[in-house]
């Protein structure tokens, strides 16, 4: 137990170590100027990555080949639909949120249908559905210039002495999901399926129901992210989900979740999301050009995964 504990601890601790290191380097370079503001910004932006990262983590944990590539287009669709329905009015806030959830639910069910009924591999299924979803968002596109309701905008950007309120809410949400992963029947079933789907079925787990729930969870979280993100950034746009495709996968892996499935952890997602934001900030502070920035980001991610991924299961 102590060994397993140490290993799993090791898996997520790396992303936090990386986060602190990158922050320190930036702080030293700038002479400590604005270091606190950087943390505030990192918390604000990481929040959105964490929301989709948690959904992606559950999907990836159900085993090799499982990944949700429709997250970015779901973010865009949900944002567009919610903005249009609310039309900038606080009174419609609940309705808009429910519409967002509805988008997520529909996308998740559609994805799962492609995977289960048509037996398309998840990576292809979610990729092709993402085109359909994005087209729907474009067809719906006239909502794009609509401002979010003031209440939503205020809530998503609110800060209490430098700490974003939304970040606190999502930290609490992460704690809840951590309990779901480790202490509920659903979480245990996800971990079992990720190790050996056939054995899980023979041990009495309803594999297909769990996979269904997992794809729906991921899409619903993406939809919530789209809703909050359009409030945060003053309206929806068609490409606002774009950067979350790789980010959602990267934070899961850097955070110490096994791509081979069956092993997951949620704290690491927070560390990794903060790390990713601070890394880009650091390179910006150095005045690196866009090209250098991308190369460095890529290399550093590879480095972190290599160091943190040293405890692959024996098989």
């Amino acid at each position: 137990m102590t060994l397993i504990k140490q290993l799993s601890a090791k898996a997520w601790i790396w992303s936090f170590i990386g986060m602190v290191l990158v922050w320190l380097v930036t702080a030293i370079y700038t002479g400590g100027k604005g270091s606190a503001d950087v943390i505030t910004a990192a918390l604000s932006f990481a929040t959105f990555t964490v929301i989709v990262g948690i959904g992606q983590m559950f999907v990836i944990t159900t085993g090799p080949g499982n990944v949700d590539l429709s997250i970015p287009s779901t973010i865009s669709l949900s944002g567009a639909v919610a903005m249009k329905i609310m039309g900038g009015s606080d009174a419609m806030l609940i309705v808009g949120f429910l519409a967002s959830l509805g988008c997520g639910l529909a996308v998740g069910m559609f994805n799962y249908m492609l995977i289960r009924v048509l037996r398309i591999p998840p990576i292809i299924a979610t990729l092709s559905s993402s085109f359909l979803i994005l087209s729907t968002a474009i067809a719906y596109g006239r909502g794009l210039k609509i401002k979010p309701p003031p209440l939503l905008a205020d809530f998503t950007t609110a800060q209490v002495s430098g700490v974003p309120v939304l970040a606190v809410v999502i930290i609490l949400f992460a704690v809840v999901m951590s309990v779901v992963l480790n202490r509920t029947l659903y979480g245990r079933a996800v971990l079992a399926i990720g190790q050996n789907m056939r054995a899980a079925w023979l041990a009495g787990i309803n594999v297909e129901r769990i996979r269904f729930m997992t794809y729906v969870l991921s899409a619903v979280l993406a939809a919530i992210c789209g809703f909050l993100l359009s409030g945060f950034s003053g309206g929806a746009s068609l490409n606002m989900g774009q950067e979350y495709l790789l980010a959602s996968i990267a934070v899961v892996v850097i955070g110490g979740t096994s791509v081979a499935g069956g092993k997951a952890n949620i704290p690491g997602i927070w560390g990794a999301a903060m790390f990713m934001f601070l890394l880009v900030t650091m390179l910006n502070t150095f005045g690196a050009s866009a090209g250098i920035r991308l190369i460095m980001t890529g290399l550093i991610i590879v480095a972190v995964i290599t160091i943190a991924g040293g405890d692959e299961p024996q098989r």
């Binding site: 397993i4 202490r183 509920t184 079992a192 009495g204």
Partner: protein, 491 residues
């Protein structure tokens, strides 16, 4: 000891520790040419560790290892073992499931190159399969993953005996017959005997004492990482061998238990099913509290029947009538059973989690308690139930899978040849456990490739080519009858 005396391998005082577990605690072993050496002992006695050391997979912590008289202790490896003509057939099959039979055979033989290597490798493995297992029904271009566990085992065995450029001196067979049925087991053992008489050496690890007694020149008994007896095969009989293994259970107990007075049909029907072939001699019926055997040659539809019943129970399908919750004990534990990232306790608890939920959350205390209870009841050999499941020996992993099913709420327990790699003492204990649970009203459906195990059953169905071909009561059951039914048309 010099190179001239012909000894193939000699181990002196070899030890291997895994943390606090002393898998090997100073073992001496010598294999001469033309010798069939039997190795017996309980689960976790260190047999598999010893063979892994011989095969070059594990480096011993201390001790001396000589091959053909040369001290190779410090530079021994799988490659060196291969160069010296030492091969190993593992209990956990080592074939690549995504490759064909021929491609798997090629892996052992780097000299098979150039045009047509696949055909040559195919001819080589097919020839060896024909030689060892006549009528095996395996094609060289079959994908290994599609074969049943018994056939995979046959390929693995045949591959170990193929020879190209390097000469072959010693083949280690780690429980080769546990996945084979009576007929193929005999074919293998007869083949081994012929090879040994021609000068090859074999180490045979088996829990089936009859095989070891009948076929081995010399028998080595291991217990707790030590060799406790090593004598000529003829000096042992079943009782002295069991005594040497340190088994307190008397062998007569099997006979004592034999006859449970069982009146068929006094209890309600628990399971009723038919095979998909439509050629059944009789429908498959199990009554509540009954132990029903599924017999016949390996992979003739027994597992398919169990899965059909399982599926009907899980999905509420009408393809079979099942009266209550079911649980399955996997025989092919790597594919169907264990969760390799989890502890022993978690592996046992997974089937019973629903009953451990308190206020929506799984109670870790209840889970640990279940693990401890079954560690005692089924004697899982481990210092800590929170250790990873893979830290257990194969037989002990199998016990954990038994515990998973027996600890659950299932009224009907399906067993898919579950005694693979389980030692004699444990088997007897598990038989008792099964009988007790049957008395309490649980129903057991038991597919087994071991004839002896069928005598624990109240009723037996024999399968051939996917269909039920015989329906035997306990009184009618005999080895001849089962074999006769298994072969009716082909013989």
């Amino acid at each position: 000891m010099t190179a001239s005396d012909g000894t193939i391998v000699s181990l002196e005082n070899v030890a291997k520790h895994f943390g606090a577990v002393r898998a090997l605690d100073g073992v001496d072993l010598r294999v001469d040419p033309g010798m069939c050496l039997g190795l017996v002992g309980h689960n976790g006695a260190g047999k598999s560790t010893l063979m892994n050391a011989l095969a070059g997979i594990l480096a011993p912590d201390r001790g001396v290892m000589k091959v053909h008289g040369h001290d190779l202790t410090d530079r021994y490896s799988v490659a060196v073992a291969g160069q010296n003509g030492i091969r190993c057939v593992f209990q956990e099959l080592s074939l690549c499931p995504n490759l064909t039979v021929a491609e798997n055979a090629r892996i052992f033989h780097p000299s098979l190159t150039g045009w047509g290597w696949k055909r040559r490798a195919g001819d080589m493995i097919a020839g060896k399969l024909d030689e060892i297992f006549p009528g095996h029904g395996i094609q060289p271009d079959d994908i290994v993953g599609d074969l049943s566990i018994g056939k995979r085992q046959m390929v693995e065995i045949a591959r170990a005996f193929t020879v190209t450029d390097a000469s072959l001196h010693l083949v280690i067979l780690d429980e080769p017959t546990s996945s084979l049925d009576a007929v193929t087991s005999k074919q293998l053992l007869d083949f081994v005997r012929v090879e040994v008489d021609q000068g090859l050496s074999c180490i045979l690890i088996s829990h089936m004492l009859g095989e070891v007694l009948d076929y081995c020149d010399r028998i080595v008994v291991m217990k707790d990482g030590l060799v406790v007896a090593a004598r000529a095969g003829a000096e042992f009989n079943r009782d002295t061998l069991v005594a040497a293994m340190g088994n307190v259970v008397e062998m007569e107990e099997i006979e004592e238990h034999e006859a449970r007075e069982w009146q068929r049909g006094k209890t309600p029907v628990a399971v009723e099913a038919k095979t998909d072939t439509g050629n059944d001699w009789a429908p498959f019926i199990a009554h509540k509290g009954e132990i029903v055997g599924l017999a016949g040659l390996a992979a003739h539809g027994q597992t398919r029947m169990l899965l059909k019943i399982y599926e009907a129970a899980m999905r509420g399908r009408k393809t079979a009538t099942v009266s209550g919750p079911v649980a399955l004990v996997a025989g092919d534990r790597q594919t169907d059973g264990i969760f390799h990232l989890w502890s022993i306790s978690r592996n046992i608890g997974i089937r019973s989690l629903r009953g451990m939920v308190r206020r929506g959350l799984i109670d870790p205390v209840a889970e640990a308690a279940m693990g401890r209870e079954w560690q005692d009841r089924i004697k899982i050999k481990t210092p800590d139930m929170n250790d990873n499941i893979l830290s257990l020996s194969g037989g002990n992993q199998q016990k954990a899978l038994f515990a998973r099913a027996l600890a659950s709420d299932a009224e009907i327990i399906l067993m898919d040849d579950p005694m693979r790699g389980v030692d004699v003492g444990t088997k007897l204990e598990v038989y008792d456990l099964i009988r007790d649970e049957a008395e309490k009203g649980r129903t057991f459906l038991w597919y087994t490739t071991e004839m002896d195990e069928l005598y624990n059953c109240d009723h037996t169905y024999v399968f051939r080519d996917g269909a039920i071909v015989a329906d035997l009561t306990r009184k009618e059951l005999s080895e001849e009858k089962v074999l006769q039914s298994s072969f009716k048309e082909s013989a």
